[in-house]
Symmetry: D2
């Protein structure tokens, strides 16, 4: 058993993480911290029977944790990552603070200087299926954003095969409201979201663009695509992201070649669900699981390929992938604590 | 044409009111005020093409309004009611500040003293169908709460006939989220409300209890019921209130007698929709209209009567009834601006 | 390990049952049958990765099952219950066919004669928490209806203590749409249900009334209540039932006495969640779990007690309670396969 | 006043049409027909107080109608269009039967021969803003599909200016469930749609592709685009379509030029709402109105332009545009019966 600490446990991501960790066979929860709600039981904040007492971060000893999960706002995570490392913990940061390798890029997209740039070189971008090598030795893991996870897993096989050289990738993504967090804001109110669909920060504006394009290049090597056009939409559902991705048809490949490429690439992946020909990925394929569902839709009439991918933004897009990364880092079975048996638990939110 | 002013135009109620007033055949909007959003067009706050500029209340002259609608939080409305009266306007208060006749009762239920108790005696409780006489001369109209409207209209015929003498009335009410207002709070977030149903302040706790019991007695005269048990529930819908009301079966009446009583009582009411035998009122019967739908369900096996009533909390439960009261007060057709039969305006185009 | 067979696996209840059984530590699925979909994999009907092939009932041997779950429409279950018993299986009927002990009552409420009345005497009504004795020996278990489960568990402590003698119990229940089943009907269409709330069969009309009143008497013994007024409402959510129950205040008891009664009665129950004073049960407390959440709300001003209870209609209201009954019958830990504490399985990975 | 007849009045489109027609200043409803529901009042099918009796089509005389609206399934409309013309009525067909000019194309996309090909040449495609000339003389008007309306209005200014020569247009569209009609099918059930998002017929498969590409060419003249990639998604909302459209940036134009082009093109259009720079179209901008909202989003970093457009699929996408076409054809003010004052009416569904 290893001991896990969670900083920032009261948001949707922190709570989701605690629910999965609580039933992980190899983990015990050392502490979970909160700011304004320190001192309260978790059950005062959520309709849960998990028996967890929230503590002030000042009252916990980071060295009690073998693994420290940061569910803090970006900006705040930088300081605590260093403290966690100093205390000897493996740090898994679910914020955006360590995803970008270049401090200047971070500063430009997040409108603030990075206070611990020396960590950016060390941080491993935790897109599990594509970073296992590095993850096994990592001290600091930057857990990917929800949108980037849904998009990168869908196009990685093409990038890795050098088939999107110079291409512009269009990703039309739709996300559930939990992605906006639990702090009350007008745009997250039921009446504003219900019976509506709202595109926001579309084109080349959303902060995840920087993260996505960095990793597109990393995955493509010498055959880098030109970049991405990214359009997030706010969906009237609680959870889930569906990305409808448009790429130019890879010259010289048949639809069967393409399907074979995906099938081989993801053959042994427990959490990648490549749907059979004719099926289309929907939110219902992945909500409340750590899976990413992918379906392929050739459009020969227009020399295009459409890839649909779905994940649960709070699981594979956050807490679940963080645990998957922990499993890799500590040598556990990668599926530990993430199999459907825990499903009954993932009820709240 | 009369001139209407709206104080507090940016909440759901204020916005709803403006949308109806904008197409009222006998009204022009003199001003609409906001606090933090003063100076902005309404279209900066809502996806609307209504061309209305929000002003600071300090910058408007109340005397420009023949009728002044108060869409302010309770507490704040008291001061402005007096100012409106001093400026010679008819004041229609959509807050709770002038519904209770007794300042002590107000203080007890709202945890604050009433700062203008002298107005309580004068204010007319604007349950239109039952207060027309008084409304015609009123200077100050207290617009009923949404829950009270749905419950009082449903039981008034029985009370008025003295058939609930000493009875305990059980009202199990379910409301859409717009009733909670537009200020961001945790309990109104999409993720908290969606796929959930939440009873709150149930029993004899909700502030509307005082208002309901006051009016139950007023309607029943010498044959007052004992009182009410009131259970509000938060529904995952944007608009609408449905109240399922349980009363002891009125001794000596047949189901036909009862139906006849309701049919006669509401025979000429344009906004009371008594459903035929066998039909059941649903939210869909009344959402986005000023109607109240009522269906009667005798339970002879248990000597009980169930009455189901529905309204739109923002229309008949707030803005619509306020306009209906204005129509009565100013001698307009009571339906003016509240039904598509405001055909005159359509013909202009 | 025991072998489980499921007849009628393609409805929401059947599918829910298979999902839980698939991860039960002591069960393997022997067969799952369908009518029109026989021969298809389950994944052709639902977005699932469960690898189950649907068979025609004619092609399976009932004797391959130690326990046979009937997820058939009422009427159809009667014949198959007998066949299952003849094949030596323990039969758990999730339909309404064996809940009523009196064939005449069945015929009256279901408008058809019962074809196997001899089984009614033998069938054990599987409200687990109150029938363990009988369940341990049962050959045929009648799994309770969803509404009755939510209502009976909430009032059983009072009935059992003889505190509702002669009382009329008012149950205002609200249910998610999955309770209406998966066969396409107008009333279950998204557009009909969404943004709506619809009471149906209210008063003393719904078929569950017969089942509820039979069990009220069974639980109360010599201190039987008069009966129930029952008002189901269709909620715009997928899962969950919330019942708001009104009973006359039990004379001579204090609020503390009452809370103590419930606390003692349900002290050791793994699936009954008595909420602390001040908390109110919501759907979110129980959706996707086998729990029943109960909160108590005294109304001293009106000598009434309100009890709020919630369950997931597909879990504690159907598939989950069926598995709980199976666990009791076969001597497994009652929680097996119903809580993440089925940790054993997780440890395998 | 003209007399309007409606064939197929019981679906969502037919009902929507009746609600708007009922309050049109220049129209009286001559008849409304139904198949299985003939003889019933409309209120037996919908929670409405519109007093309309449904008749069997055999029992009405088409010559009683000056304008005949066909809300029939494709295939069925062909026969009745001819009959309506023979009876001297102007026929407005809301089905797909007369949208395609080429009978072979129709046969290929609808898998059945067209039984009245001689009408295809005569039928005017009723995209009102772009076909007024022809509509004024039309005997037979083919009302556009909902998806095509949302897409064509958004790109027409570019096509008309010859700016999409040879381009591939990518339209990622999301539609509410009412677009699927009111006949019960599994895919339209609340539980299937709720909390889900489902792409369907994506790429170059959906029948609207043929209609869209025909009109793209018609609007572009000598500067035809290559064609479209079209991806419809089923949204968990009742009404509304949002299309996110990706086109290559028109060479040599600045963002201001582009905005000016749209502003001039649609300057005097009462139902085209070009949003100001910085705003983004959402469903809430147009639901329950006859408007089409359009917002422009240049992506200079990737030489792309994103156009977002929204309509209400039942109004501008069906019944509303049909009335707008009728207004043009009969010389009424184009806004007659379509102004917001009728809004209060558009409540059901």
């Amino acid at each position: 058993m290893i001991r896990a600490g969670v900083l920032g446990a009261t948001g949707y991501t922190g709570f989701e993480l605690l629910q999965w960790l609580a039933y992980h066979p190899h983990v015990e929860i050392a502490f979970a911290t909160a700011r304004s709600d320190a001192g309260k039981p978790l059950s005062a904040l959520y309709p849960t029977d998990l028996d967890i007492q929230l503590q002030a971060v000042e009252d916990v000893s980071l060295s009690d944790a073998d693994v420290l999960f940061l569910c803090l706002p970006h900006g705040a995570a930088q300081e605590w990552a260093q403290r966690g490392l100093d205390a000897g913990a493996v740090v898994i940061d679910l914020s955006a603070d360590h995803r970008l390798h270049d401090a200047d890029v971070y500063a430009r997209w997040y409108n603030q200087p990075h206070t611990a740039p020396h960590l950016l070189a060390e941080a491993v971008y935790g897109l599990t299926e594509w970073r296992r090598e590095a993850l096994r030795q990592a001290r600091l893991i930057a857990n990917p954003g929800c949108y980037p996870t849904s998009i990168l897993l869908a196009v990685a096989p093409l990038l890795n095969a050098g088939l999107l050289d110079g291409a512009t990738i269009i990703a039309d993504s739709k996300s559930g409201v939990s992605g906006a967090g639990r702090s009350p804001k007008l745009g997250s109110l039921f009446v504003e979201v219900n019976e509506n669909l709202k595109p926001y920060n579309i084109g080349h504006v959303h902060r995840h663009v920087a993260e996505i394009e960095q990793e597109l290049h990393a995955l493509a090597g010498d055959h880098a695509p030109r970049g991405i056009v990214f359009s997030p939409h706010l969906l009237p559902v609680s959870r889930g992201i569906l990305s409808t991705i448009y790429v130019p048809w890879p010259q010289g490949l048949s639809a069967d070649d393409l399907r074979a490429l995906y099938a081989e690439t993801y053959a042994d992946e427990p959490f990648i669900w490549l749907l059979p020909e004719g099926a289309t990925a929907t939110l219902a394929h992945t909500v409340r699981t750590n899976r990413c569902a992918i379906s392929l839709h050739p459009v020969p009439e227009r020399d295009q390929l459409i890839i649909v991918s779905t994940i649960d933004n709070l699981v594979k897009g956050a807490a679940g992938q963080a645990i998957q990364n922990m499993n890799v880092r500590f040598g556990f079975d990668e599926r530990a604590g993430l199999m459907p048996v825990a499903r009954a638990r993932v009820q709240e939110v």
